[in-house]
């Protein structure tokens, strides 16, 4: 690991000022950054720890069941939160899929998102939760919807000095689910991640959201599949159409782990399965 200067600011303003400098990196859980620094794929001149800044960690639930998750909240805490398990099941399930317990005790939800891997396990759950991402810098604050945060693999709309501070999840859907397509039970990266969240009213789907990870340069919503579902009863035929529409929305690559054709086919299959499970939860 190359040497660097280490900072542990106690205010967001100071962290943002330091982070705006060239060759600066934020340190949250360190599970990506420290490994990258060892591999010399990351060679920052300054590393700015977020752990001494108050107010960046923890999960709070409001009276209307909207939930706020601080950016440096550990992924393990997201996984085990009773409120997130109940209201945003897909997000809790996604969090539980990251690495090992030892890694989830270090890794933060903000780091998982800011790293901008298209395969991040919390991202599909945040997409179907319609999460709002609060961002702070020395210029002030702004909020970006999660589906507008990513611009490419490892790329976001964040400008130098901007720091994700929290994720706000509006009122929840009644049922959601996340499926990670993988080989190993734990410690694996997603070939594909699919999340679905639905609302049911008297047998009619009133709202549907589908989030896809690892099948495009950024995580995406399958909006055409969502539109097919809304206003209709969840028949097997409709789910088949939704699966096909989600597969059509994907633009996967072939790599060492599997082919683009396999990925696209599995988006179809897994979208149906994820929707079925979410619908079951919504009607239960």
């Amino acid at each position: 690991m190359k040497s660097f200067e280490f900072f542990e600011p106690t205010t967001l303003a100071e962290a943002s000022r330091l982070f705006a400098a060239e060759h600066a990196q934020l340190l949250a859980g360190g599970t990506d950054l420290v490994i990258g620094m060892k591999a010399l794929t990351e060679t920052p001149q300054s590393v700015i720890s977020l752990q001494k800044i108050p107010g960046l960690t923890g999960i709070t639930t409001e009276a209307d069941n909207s939930i706020s998750i601080g950016a440096t909240t550990k992924v393990r805490e997201v996984e085990l939160s009773a409120d997130i398990q109940q209201h945003h099941t897909a997000l809790a399930e996604g969090a539980s899929e990251i690495g090992s317990i030892q890694i989830r005790n270090l890794a933060t939800i903000g780091g998982n998102i800011a790293h901008a891997s298209p395969a991040a396990d919390t991202v599909a759950g945040l997409l179907v939760a319609d999460a709002q991402v609060d961002i702070a810098s020395t210029d002030g604050e702004r909020t970006v919807p999660i589906n507008e945060l990513f611009t490419g693999p490892g790329q976001t709309v964040l400008t130098p000095g901007e720091i994700i501070t929290r994720f706000r999840l509006p009122s929840p859907a009644s049922g959601s689910h996340y499926i990670k397509h993988k080989i190993r039970e734990v410690m694996d990266l997603a070939f594909i991640g699919v999340a679905a969240a639905v609302n049911l009213d008297n047998g009619t789907i009133t709202d549907a959201r589908i989030g896809l990870a690892a099948v495009a340069p950024t995580p995406i919503r399958a909006t055409e599949a969502e539109e097919l579902l809304k206003g209709n009863a969840p028949t097997p035929e409709l789910l088949v159409q939704a699966g096909e529409a989600a597969a059509a929305a994907s633009s996967p690559i072939s790599d060492l782990r599997c082919s683009a054709e396999h990925r696209r086919e599995m988006v179809d299959v897994l979208t149906k399965q994820t929707l079925q499970q979410a619908l079951e939860r919504a009607s239960g």
Binding site: K2, S49, S100, I101, Q102, V186
Partner: protein, 159 residues
């Protein structure tokens, strides 16, 4: 680069040290303090050999910068035994033969201890899944799981 002052509480003892920011907690434990029970396996967080307990949570110490562990409570394998008595998890690994070469054993024991502290009522399947971040290259994990289940049972009954 300048060394920074840190204060680490390791197995109950306070250590005031000057360390380089790029040193991992694992390197500080092994090279600076001389506690070599914690092992370096893959060094990328994949194998769990470097597992220690920080503020009650099992973590892979190869992914932690030592400077960020300042003012935290760290327990390593050397801190488990007390008054000459092995911890029940350690004793169970011995009794069942839950090791061969022993390199992964400290990591397995620390991960298992944290799991049992959190919830000793896990099923075999749940322990198996929860220990997925620890890799042993000698055995088939059967004896390791047996040891963890025995330790959990003992801790349940003596609590």
């Amino acid at each position: 680069m300048a060394k920074l002052p840190v204060s680490l509480t390791i197995n109950g003892d306070e250590h005031d040290l000057l360390i380089e920011p790029r040193k991992t907690l694992l390197a500080v434990l092994r090279d600076t303090i001389g506690l070599t029970g914690t092992k370096e396996g893959c060094s990328t967080g994949d194998c769990g050999a470097c597992t220690v307990i920080v503020d009650g949570k099992a973590v892979t110490s190869c992914m932690v910068l030592g400077v960020t562990a300042s003012e935290k409570e760290i327990t390593t394998i050397e801190g488990l035994a007390s008054d000459g008595e092995l911890h029940p998890v350690q004793q169970a690994f011995i009794n069942t033969g839950g090791y061969q070469c022993g390199f992964c054993t400290p990591g397995f024991i620390m991960a298992s201890k944290a799991l049992i502290d959190e919830n000793p009522n896990r099923t075999e399947e749940e322990f198996r899944h929860a220990l997925g971040g620890n890799i042993c290259r000698c055995t088939g994990y059967t004896k390791i799981l047996e040891a963890v289940l025995k330790a959990a049972e003992e801790i349940r009954t003596t609590r």
